[in-house]
Symmetry: C2
Subunit: 411 residues, 2 copies
Amino acid sequence: MSYTPLTEASVVTYVRRTGVATELFGDVTDIVAQDLADGNVNLVFRVYSASDPVRKSVIVKQALPYARAVGKEFKMPLDRTRIETEVLRLQAQFAPDQVPKVFHFDEEMHLVMMEDLNQHRIVRTGLIDHIRYPKFAKDIGIFVARTLFYTSDLYLSSEEKKGMVVKFMNPGLCKVTEDLVFTHPFSNHPENRVNPLLSRHVRELRSNTALVAKVNHYKTLFMTQAQALIHGDLHTGSIMVNQDETKVIDPEFAFFGPMGFDLGALIGNLALSYVSQECHIQDAAERVSYQKWLLDTISQIWHTFEDEFLALWNDHAVDWKNGQFQKEYVWRLLQETAGFGGTKMMRRIIGLAHVADMESIADENARAKCESLALNIGSSWVMASGSIRHIDDLLSMMTQARPSIGDDSHD
Amino acid sequence: MSYTPLTEASVVTYVRRTGVATELFGDVTDIVAQDLADGNVNLVFRVYSASDPVRKSVIVKQALPYARAVGKEFKMPLDRTRIETEVLRLQAQFAPDQVPKVFHFDEEMHLVMMEDLNQHRIVRTGLIDHIRYPKFAKDIGIFVARTLFYTSDLYLSSEEKKGMVVKFMNPGLCKVTEDLVFTHPFSNHPENRVNPLLSRHVRELRSNTALVAKVNHYKTLFMTQAQALIHGDLHTGSIMVNQDETKVIDPEFAFFGPMGFDLGALIGNLALSYVSQECHIQDAAERVSYQKWLLDTISQIWHTFEDEFLALWNDHAVDWKNGQFQKEYVWRLLQETAGFGGTKMMRRIIGLAHVADMESIADENARAKCESLALNIGSSWVMASGSIRHIDDLLSMMTQARPSIGDDSHD
């Protein structure tokens, strides 16, 4: 079938015709579709059995040649669906419980059919509602450690890894990140969106040569350092959770890049949630307690990652058996995590794509204060990144930072 | 024509049949061939007109599926001839006077026919004879600056560069470097060759955990950092010179790797020459003077490189316009140059492949002393690499280093 964007009607016909339909649904006569319309760049349908909508349900995700959230002029490569599918299948080998199952892939339609995680919720929205997820930190720490270690030169043969670098070369989506994370936010690009109350703070930040130099450095790492097959977009909107499980979705930005970019996306977005709680939780005691849970979550993610990564290294690596190198390697990872994490925090405040954690704060002044605080944390992470030795250094910068504008700012 | 290794007889027939033969030789009846037999891993013939052997002459280089210098069990990928040819053609766009002209490429025969540089000499052997080359430092500094800048993300579009990374993926020859430069020399690998008089020094060096950790770090950079299309084997045996010209040959190890690897190969091998002059030049005043020329050459190469690289950057880069970033970028390049250069110096003393600069020293004790000095310089470069800020730092380490064994060592 040649490429045609599907509709609620045509996706049902499409699913009925796939080989796996009977296996998944039994009776395929009563299936219906719902356009979830929640992707920035894809069509996403839930296709389910009217008689058993929870258990008999799949997600159909189809790439569009442009970003819906921006407009038809913002081109997106269709090949990303192949990359997403191959990454999900590969990650299922290392972390089978933490990715949705893939049922079907259609190369011509740029479409993938996968498990419907209808018993899970996007982490970001759960955090906005200040829910605690007891298994999240450990699950995601292990997921990141495994997916990165098993696709790195520490595990793979030199030749095998280089073959995978070619297979997962993802220039179109890398360019989106290069522009929207590292370049546009730190210049006066017309696509940037900034809270007007922040304009002085943002002007100062963009003219901070030392800071922009470090962001440029992290951009070169993003563009040159083929360290492991990273998820490439591992913020809290790409992870689904409940009280028992953690699932990582949407790896269409995956490519061989710096490990710190995934870790940084994760903890940077948790830091954004931490900051946003200043507005989301009115009760001071409850706010302090939930913010402490977020700090502990960041710490536990890092420690779980480090322990699992080093355990895999000690068990499986053939070369690279040098304790001092191992120690310095992990330090460097933490430093790059800080650099990427801080950059990603800032771009969510001063670039095109913002986060619901902040956008859901109705009061403009209160939001500006949170956004200013987030900029200061992000900037301090980036500036200190070269000398960080412990995850606690990042947590201290979070708790000690203050916004650059007050409640009554009219800047 | 399907792949058959050529002989002195068959290469003449082959050349006569190529489309460019008449253009190059006019009369093709009197051409003859000479097996130069000087490649480690290739067949190399000079094919020339008997009536005008200097002006009418070409080099025919054909890949063998194994390394002649080691044995048939040491496999080498034949694809390297395509890579060499494409690199020479590409470099000719940026530095036309500094690479041999390519006349003909035969994909099936894994053969390239190129300009015969019979008026030039390999730099390494010229240095052993303590000849000064007045244009060398400037020429090679500019060559390295241009070939690296024009193939980096500083110049190319993101997408174009990623396409070139794939085209120049060179896993077979990268693996040779990974093993022979970074891994085997720093372990007790059976292929290593070490002067027995050095055994204590080498034992100490291999058990120096901090040093081996740093070498491991540079190995990860070599394996992950796709910064520019590097030559990949830019020692003094890959450069031909005379008093007027400088030509860079043999880019079959080329791939997208760290820029510092080319710069380090270059200055590391000049440092090996510097050390070896202790034995090659008996007259003290002459030795001091020639060694000073070598130090000046290293310094001039670096400064020429830096000036040309920054001039290209300022003229051509679209993004990356930040003075502080530029300064830190060049510091980092110098630091990685020191790390790679020091590693390459050491591997030429304690690994499989040695250099004529040292091997031509007949006296075993004198050679051991030079080799020990080279190890100490290489090791000091690697250990200090993280904090180096100026090329003079590397020169000071050269002049201040002492060998770890005396003239009367019987270790």
